[in-house]
């Protein structure tokens, strides 16, 4: 009997004493517990202490602390939990002499006592505790009954060596204890320890109970524990592998690793248990189901590592990279879960005694609950991976967006989170494009494509939308706006060499409230994006238009083109035609364009055009079109207007070619008109000729008069047509279109509008001038008419030349002396002074020749007149067929007196 045992006994006595005295509170009967009570209690205490009661859980200090804290927290005493944690850290840091070594035991003690007390509080009167004392008093074996007295008794068996030692020790204590009556109790205790063995099942509990065994009811759930243990053992016997192993294997499989039994099967394309294993079918199917996660994981992981490897080699693209990163993040969440599960599977969960499942290990069934959510996510990821494998950029984002249209909030949230990550590079591109005009797209993922083009076609062809890369959450109109905004910036930068857009962009950004730094936009904020784009577009377009109008004087240039190329400046055109006319009659290849340029220069200086700014004058040039042999200068001459760098976006080459087409047409029209006027100068009846005619012999005279009358009538008809056509072109076509253009120019909000307005203007001019594709027939007829008129002009010239020659011949015959005189004056003198000259000797021959000439001429004029009439009739009848343009006014003017409709009663019905 050593000192320690003595001490232990003393301590036990002290404990009993204190417990008996203190727990009887002040409100209690102040009786000091009697000696008998005291001794009984002491005996009972010793008996308990020498029993083999051990905690049902393995000693794990930190787990214990966790459990306490959790308990406090669940009771709503979170501050207590915090204080407890604090105190505990202090407590645990104390080591060395004087400190408590078995900290876990102390904690356990505290916890159990506190729990017990709580239960007691709840049940103010202990229901069955009487039994203990009475049995103890009677000297028999006391029964320790559970609080609820529901006889859910269990016996904790424990064969630990420690308890044996302790029992021995208590045995000694017993010997030392003076009261001999305790000895038989201890005998019984020893017997209990001998008998103690694995007790299983209710019947045995009952047996143990009836056999007078000490029953310790630690908690009411013991039966469940035992049942569970029994089940575990049973299942162990039935299965070749224990569930623990399977759980571990499943956890491995879910990380894509082959487990001991669960392995990846290529054929089945999934993780399966091998067929030879003896496991219940239910387990097999559960394993199979759980391993779907592993299969999906394999797929996702495979995709990620594949694209990771290709980052450098191939163009996965930034969106693809973002997608991978987002998947990776999701996977790391998943890893965390797996780590926790694994930890729980490997270690027993330190659960409180009240917890129902002190079945320590993770079961397959539990796994299936844990996996319910990750499997949904993993499935989504696998589907995405399958769908997006071949896609990239905007197309990928669009495809994921399609999957995000899902009613399940879980799926929706998950997809949104993913999309935010995936779309961030895309939105960054949009932001940079809209605010800085930078196209940062090495992998061709953006829905704006750029092409290296010349400056003047930058606007029209430099950039375009790539429909395949346009994700569905960006609408077509928004995309167009985005495209235009960035294009405007680039246009400003490249073509206009302007820096003002940066201010406009910054202003737009502040107006929307986003910063100009990266990462300010994200998926799901389409509204923000839209407003940003709208603001930026508004300001940048405004800036661009201002620049176009103010710095580059778009309108002035348009007007200049109208005045020079569309022959709006009458005096200039008249003068130009006068001075270049003779040169243009030469064959085209003999004309020097330098000479023409000089002539143009002089035409400018001698007309009102000289008051135009030199900027505009300098841009006007002569252009000789490529010519074939036999072309006259008239056919190849044209004017050209060089609009300069930013404006040639509007006045592109093709636009200028169309302008030149119009110019050529108008120029021809002018030439015809000019020619007719020139002819009129020679043919108009005047007193000199009429005087001369009156001197002629009757036959010749009448023939002459007839021919010249025919000529005049035809001229008049032609002149009517030409001048009305010209009127129509000038006023109905050019001016109307121009005023429309001016109106639309003011309304236009961006360069595209401006371009469209100009395009419309040019189109309407072309169409209405009968140069459009649908009026080709008409146009051809028109040119035939022009040619006829020009033929008529030369014919008329010849006729009047002949007449003049005749005139001069007669004068020469009669008065040779007056030949040197000025012709006109001479004529006047001669004719009046020598009326009888026709009576000269060559008279007969002359008369004959003149007659023949006049007859020929008359025939020719008749022929032309006939041709003209037929063709003109065709022209007139074609006019109403041109439904696409409004030719009513032209028709009305040409047929003002209904002359033609009377001539052609057949076509009349058609006309009106």
């Amino acid at each position: 009997m050593d000192d320690g045992d003595r001490r232990a006994l003393d301590l036990v006595k002290e404990l009993v004493h204190r417990l008996l005295s203190t727990t009887t509170g002040p409100h209690r009967n102040p009786n000091i517990p009697s000696d008998q009570q005291y001794h009984q209690a002491l005996r009972y205490a010793i008996r308990i202490l020498s029993s083999r009661m051990t905690p049902s859980i393995a000693p794990d200090e930190s787990a214990m602390v966790e459990s306490i804290k959790r308990k406090l927290a669940t009771q709503g005493k979170s501050s207590d939990a915090l204080t407890f944690a604090d105190v505990y850290t202090k407590f645990s840091s104390k080591t060395g002499s004087g400190s408590v070594r078995n900290k876990w035991a102390v904690l356990y003690l505290l916890k159990t006592v506190s729990e017990d007390r709580k239960i007691q509080k709840h049940q103010s009167t202990a229901v069955a505790s009487n039994a203990f004392l009475s049995s103890a008093l009677s000297g028999g074996l006391p029964e320790l009954v559970g609080n609820e007295a529901n006889r859910n008794l269990g016996l904790r068996n424990d064969n630990s060596k420690d308890s044996r030692g302790l029992v021995g020790k208590l045995g000694k204590i017993d010997k030392g204890y003076s009261d001999g009556s305790l000895s038989d109790e201890f005998q019984n205790l020893n017997c209990v320890s001998d008998n103690s063995r694995v007790v299983r099942g209710k019947s045995e509990v009952g047996k143990g109970f009836s056999g007078g065994l000490l029953m310790v009811s630690k908690d009411p759930e013991n039966l469940r524990d035992m049942a569970y243990k029994e089940f575990v053992n049973l299942s162990k016997e039935e299965n070749e592998v224990s569930e623990d192993v399977l759980v571990r294997d499943v956890l491995y499989a879910c990380q894509g690793i082959d487990g001991k039994y669960v392995k990846y099967d290529e054929k089945a394309d999934g993780y399966v248990l091998p067929d030879w294993m003896k496991v219940p079918r239910a387990t097999r199917s559960v394993v199979r189901k759980l391993c779907e996660l592993g299969f999906l994981f394999r797929k996702v992981k495979g995709y990620i590592s594949e694209s990771m490897n290709q980052f450098l080699a191939q163009d996965v693209g930034t969106v693809g990279q973002a997608f991978c990163a987002a998947l990776q993040d999701e996977l790391s969440e998943y890893y965390k879960l797996l780590a926790v599960l694994e930890g729980q599977a490997m270690n027993p969960i330190p659960l409180g005694t009240e917890s129902a499942c002190s079945g320590n290990y993770m079961s397959l069934r539990r796994l299936s609950v844990w996996f319910a959510e990750p499997i949904v996510k993993m499935r989504l990821m696998a589907v995405l991976v399958d769908n997006c494998k071949s896609l990239k950029g905007g197309a990928m984002a669009g495809a994921i967006h399609m999957h995000a249209q899902h009613g399940d909030p879980l799926v929706n949230d998950f997809m949104k989170r993913l999309l935010r990550r995936v779309c961030s590079p895309l939105f960054e591109m949009v932001r940079r494009w809209v605010l800085e005009g930078e196209l940062e797209d090495i992998f061709a993922e953006f829905f704006v494509l750029s092409r290296p083009v010349k400056d003047e076609s930058l606007w029209r062809e430099g950039y375009r939308l790539h429909a395949a890369m346009l994700p569905a959450f960006i609408t077509q109109t928004l995309a167009k706006q985005i495209l235009r905004t960035g294009k405007s910036i680039n246009f400003l930068r490249v073509c206009c060499d302007d820096r003002g857009w940066a201010d406009a962009a910054a202003e737009a950004a502040t107006a929307v409230g986003t910063t100009t730094t990266r990462g300010s936009l994200g998926y799901g904020e389409t509204d923000a994006l839209e407003s940003l784009v709208t603001e930026a577009a508004k300001r940048i377009d405004k800036h661009l238009l201002e620049l176009m109008h103010k710095r580059y004087k778009f309108k002035e240039h348009c007007l200049a083109i109208k005045r020079y190329l569309l022959l709006g400046q009458g005096d200039f055109v008249q003068y130009l035609m006068d001075i270049v006319g003779p040169d243009l009659s030469e064959p085209a290849n003999t004309i020097s364009s330098f000479k023409l340029a000089t002539l143009l220069e002089s035409a400018i200086t001698s007309s009102n055009a000289q008051y135009d700014g030199c900027d505009i004058r300098a841009r006007l040039r002569v252009k000789m079109m490529p010519h074939n042999t036999g072309d006259r200068g008239w056919d190849v001459f044209s004017l050209e207007y060089d609009a300069g760098v930013p404006l040639n976006t509007v006045f592109t080459e093709s636009v200028m070619t169309r302008y030149i087409r119009v110019f050529n047409f108008l120029w021809k029209l002018r030439r015809v008109e000019h020619a007719l006027t020139g002819t009129w100068k020679t043919m108009k009846p005047n007193c000199i000729t009429s005087h001369f005619f009156s001197k002629l012999p009757q036959a010749v005279k009448s023939q002459l008069l007839l021919t010249s009358r025919k000529c005049q009538v035809l001229w008049d008809e032609m002149n009517h047509f030409v001048s009305n056509l010209q009127y129509y072109i000038m006023f109905e076509v050019l001016e109307v279109s121009w005023s429309n253009l001016v109106k639309e120019m003011e309304l236009s909000k961006d360069l595209d509008d401006l371009l469209a307005a100009h395009e419309k203007y040019l189109f309407s001019v072309l169409e209405k001038s009968l140069l459009g594709e649908r009026s080709q027939e008409l146009n051809k007829t028109l040119f035939v008419l022009f040619d006829l008129i020009l033929r008529f002009r030369s014919l008329a010239d010849r006729l009047y030349e002949g007449i003049n020659e005749l005139q001069s011949r007669t004068t020469a015959e009669t008065s040779i002396n007056s030949r040197d005189k000025v012709k006109s004056r001479g004529k006047t003198n001669d004719k009046s002074s020598e009326p009888g000259s026709w009576l000269g000797e060559g008279r007969k021959a002359l008369t004959e020749r003149t007659g023949e000439f006049l007859r020929n001429m008359g025939n020719d004029i008749d022929a032309i007149g006939k041709d003209y009439a037929t063709i003109f009739e065709g022209f007139i009848s074609q006019l109403p067929v041109q439904q696409h343009i409004d030719l009513k006014f032209l028709m009305f003017r040409l047929n003002f007196t209904e002359f033609y409709s009377q001539l052609q009663p057949i076509t009349r019905g058609k006309l009106f």
Binding site: L11, V16, P33, Y44, M53, Y88, G98, L109, S114
Partner: protein
């Protein structure tokens, strides 16, 4: 077997345990606690110790109630 106790450290430890005990509302006083710690340090099983505490408490409360009712019963 119990090493020479540094009384200061021992008191400190006891303080802390007492604090924790109060938080957990065990209803044990300082002295009882010290006895329990000592017993636990000697290698007694905490389960058994807690059982003793519980049972004796229950017994006293019960006995006192018995006693309080006893005089009136006969």
């Amino acid at each position: 077997m119990v090493s020479q106790m540094d009384p200061e450290a021992a008191r400190n430890a006891l303080d802390l345990v007492f604090h924790m005990s109060n938080i957990l509302d065990t209803g044990l006083d300082r002295h009882t606690l010290s006895v329990l710690i000592a017993l636990s340090e000697m290698g007694f099983n905490p389960e058994a110790l807690s059982a003793v505490v519980k049972e004796l408490r229950r017994e006293t409360s019960d006995s006192s109630s018995v006693q309080s009712t006893a005089p009136s019963a006969p």
